[in-house]
Amino acid sequence: MNWNIETHHLGKNFGKVIAVNDLSLKVAEGEIYAFLGLNGAGKTTTIRMLLAMIKPTNGSASVLETEIRMGCRRPWSDVGYSVEIPYAYPELTVQENLEIARRLHPHTSKAQVKRTIEKFGLEEYAQRRAGTLSQGNAQRLGLAKAMLHNPKLLILDEPANGLDPAGIVEVRELLLDMAHNHGVTVLMSSHILAEVSRMADRIGIIHKGNLLQELNAAALEANRQKRLIIRTHDNEKAAVLLESSGLWTDRLPDSSVVCAHPECVNRPDQIAEKLVQAGLPPLHLAVEEENLEEYFLRLVGMKAQ
């Protein structure tokens, strides 16, 4: 397998602060890998190390099979990136900003600027100064600059930031198309967990500089906690009934009974039968799965403890 990003025990300290600690990861060609983490978790520092903007304190990184060193010239002709909030030269127009990006990637054709403007729906704003753009359009311009030269690898820090719902869908579809139909590798960081779960082939959860877990969609599915939510006309009695059978329960704020016991989760039909036999027919009975946000918070919380 071709690994387009590889890090080995990568670490960065800023004085006594450990920003990234012993990070080893691999991202395969054509894969969408998402970094998930709270603010200050070390996502942007990792991205900056991968882009040779900051020097690692420990370990090494290679991008597109090139070992990354400060100030190196390769492999940037095949890498597109956007770090933190995208900025542009405010007094220059959208088209001029893209022309600058084109000249920073000398083998990009002039026609590519026009194509990119169309691709990102920026035609209306092409002659407008970048300083006057809305946050969403500034984000589009940032993504357009990153993708202008048709890179093999995209490193995007919070690509959906500031975009409206339609923009989020557009970017998601664009990235999925690039990755799955054109073999472009995408490493992205995001706070928008729903986006991550819809797009990423693999997710790396980073917390306080440490990579806590890497998981793909199947592993996420397997790791997610499931629970049975039960509502009857006497929830108190229903809870006592289940607990008397050795099934531990909890209560939701609306007084619904929650049971995470495997017997409840795997055989809700038997629980329903039990409730009916006790004269407590369920008004609501549903197995709920923990979403990525809840899973992430649980994981971070557990490790934090």
Binding site: L51, V79, L92, E96, R103, L104, H105
Partner: protein, 257 residues
């Protein structure tokens, strides 16, 4: 070469489209206007009396209404003003990338950082040549308008060369300000240091070390001191150190802004 030319195009576009270089260049034209005004006041005793403190200042500064006196004041003002505007321009061209948060866009690119930096230095130098190219004829025009006596071809040639030398020294000694703008991440640090240097310049000149303090050397020249070999070596070393420090910082320092 293709990379450098591309970067030169980019830097020229940025300078052309921004208001700062135009404002700084135009602001510099106040110098000959002020000098000419002082000479005009001095030439007209009635006006000088009427203007009070301005008239007194004109009497104190001018002393003699002639082209040699005009050139002398012009050179002294140019030594300081030229230094300040190049500082400002270098600080802006390098520091703006940090102020506008655009620096990260020019770091992980296939164009070598040396080409990006060289284009920035060249654009500042060309801008300065254009400003001086407008400034000097403007000074001559102003002097002619108030009909100063004593302009000879020899004097014109001698003073033009002298001004050219001061202009060259000015740009050479200001090159380290590109480094200051880079480490300071904007224009505040270089401008602050430039003001401090102007104070130290005077002190160095007063205690007799003006020829050894790089930033005082253009000023010493404007006051008629000859340019010694030692001074020239100091200026060139300062320029090279400025370029090297800027390059090394951009090449090797952590860029976390």
């Amino acid at each position: 070469m293709e990379n450098f030319l591309n970067m030169l195009w980019v830097e020229t576009l940025k300078v052309r489209k921004s208001r700062i270089p135009w404002m700084v260049g135009l602001g510099f034209m106040i110098l000959p206007l002020m000098c000419t005004f002082l000479f005009f006041v001095y030439k007209n005793p009635a006006l000088s009396q009427q203007l009070g403190i301005v008239g007194a200042k004109a009497n104190l500064v001018v002393g003699d209404v002639s082209w040699p006196a005009y050139f002398k004041i012009l050179k002294e003002a140019f030594a300081i003003g030229g230094f300040l505007i190049v500082c400002l321009m270098l600080a802006w061209v390098f520091g703006r990338e940090f102020m506008d948060h655009t620096v990260k866009d020019i770091l992980a690119v296939p164009v070598p950082r040396a080409d990006i930096l060289a284009a920035k230095f060249v654009v500042v130098a060309v801008w300065y040549i254009v400003v001086v190219g407008i400034f000097y004829p403007f000074c001559l025009l102003m002097g002619s308008l108030i009909q100063l006596p004593g302009l000879t071809p020899d004097l014109l040639l001698q003073e033009s060369l002298s001004l050219l030398l001061i202009a060259t020294l000015n740009i050479l000694v200001t090159l380290p300000f590109a480094f200051l703008a880079s480490i300071g991440g904007g224009i505040m640090l270089p401008i602050g240091i430039a003001i401090l240097i102007l104070i130290i310049d005077n002190l160095a000149a007063v205690i007799g070390y003006g020829n050894y303090f790089p930033w005082a050397i253009p000023g010493m020249l404007s006051q008629g001191e000859p340019l010694t070999t030692v001074s020239l070596v100091i200026v060139l070393t300062t320029a090279l150190a400025g370029i090297a420090a800027t390059y090394l910082w951009w090449r090797y320092a952590d860029q976390s802004r």
